[in-house]
Symmetry: C2
Amino acid sequence: MTTPAQGLHSHVLATLGLAITAGEYPPGTVLRTDELAQRFDVSRTVVREVVRVLESMHLVESRRRVGVTVLPTASWNVYDPQVIRWRLAGADRPRQLRSLTVLRSAVEPVAAGLAAHNATPDQCRELTEQALGMVATSRGRRLEEYLVHDIAFHRVVLNASGNEMFARLGDVVAEVLTGRTHHHVMFEDPDPAAVTLHVQVAEAVRERNAARAEELTRQIAVGALQELDVLAP
Amino acid sequence: MTTPAQGLHSHVLATLGLAITAGEYPPGTVLRTDELAQRFDVSRTVVREVVRVLESMHLVESRRRVGVTVLPTASWNVYDPQVIRWRLAGADRPRQLRSLTVLRSAVEPVAAGLAAHNATPDQCRELTEQALGMVATSRGRRLEEYLVHDIAFHRVVLNASGNEMFARLGDVVAEVLTGRTHHHVMFEDPDPAAVTLHVQVAEAVRERNAARAEELTRQIAVGALQELDVLAP
DNA sequence: TGTGACATAAAAGTCGTACTTTTAATTCCC
DNA sequence: GGGAATTAAAAGTACGACTTTTATGTCACA
């Protein structure tokens, strides 16, 4: 169950991070570095470096004479891509997917509106290209190919918004879309309505129609949320 | 200029993190742990732990035989509260404030809409209370007191949304509001229109009117964005 | 009996050094 | 000139000694 990992640090970090985010250690649980070193058969040095990283993610808190205390979910850095990946790989994957989808539904429409103002000609072209790619792969169980275009499309929108915070959500969106494709019923082709909406968004951005780009993206978001409700009511 | 800090680790981390996010080391700059240890007069152990943390924030990348390379802004974990704080304290504070305000303008309206559905009676009460607090302190240069209520208000909305990702933006919003109050013209009282909007949002949430809560919050956001444009065109 | 000062020890924090591993860069041979 | 072998530089890992903080238990005093 332990990730292969190149380097002791990565290995211990991955194992511990995954365990904590999976809720294997209830908040308040106290770990001792010596004990961890023994358990993982590594030096205290390595454990200490791992603890420092977990501490920076606010997963744990280290105090003298006490030890390394596991913190409650409320204090975790839930925007840390690493934490997101761990949680998506763990037990509360459904909860996590829902949270992230709601976040998307708030951010992406606004991002699309901004993209209509700020997208470079290159980005407009790329957007259209990806939308067409989605159309081309939307039928005939070509879900993997479709996914690539879908991810690329949303990434371009977020980047084209010109807002750094939005741009950095590209990875999160990629994770969500990948998660959806790989864990949902893989037997159905994507919703044709959604595909059309993507094409239209590309169009709206190209035509610098911000309001339309925003509204259309909002519709995509609504679709994604409904899909969630169907899958996990 | 060095933060006091309790503990060598915190001190070195704060200093290095601030310097990097301030752009003092252009991307690609290579640092060596030994050199850093010497510069800060601490052991290599401490420096290594710091580097590991900076690495987890994607501010730097450490490679054997090369050293610790500073990464470009595009790869930073810009949602890390620590990174946000460093950047707000540094040179590109204006850019950062704008990015965050745009993010707020996307998230908060949706959060308010959700809050109208999910807020507990306690949260409704708290919301009203804070809104009234804002009214009470909105005249007579009582900006500090006003700020406290303003922050509390937005925090409650984000928490009441029931979405974990939204809730975690409470700190970010607090930073933005604080930044605005402390770095803008401190001689004017808050915009009365904004104050009224807050009261109305509290009302809408209490009445479970999601659409109205969302729309009103959107207006607050528009106001915040305009304010930015006035201050830094 | 309760309370506050004090002593104790447990755990993290720091340091120095020695050693291993990876890998960029140089050298050398064909 | 190009590719293989060599070198060395830097991070990665380990270990042991020591320091510092601090929770907790102890003891004296009121």
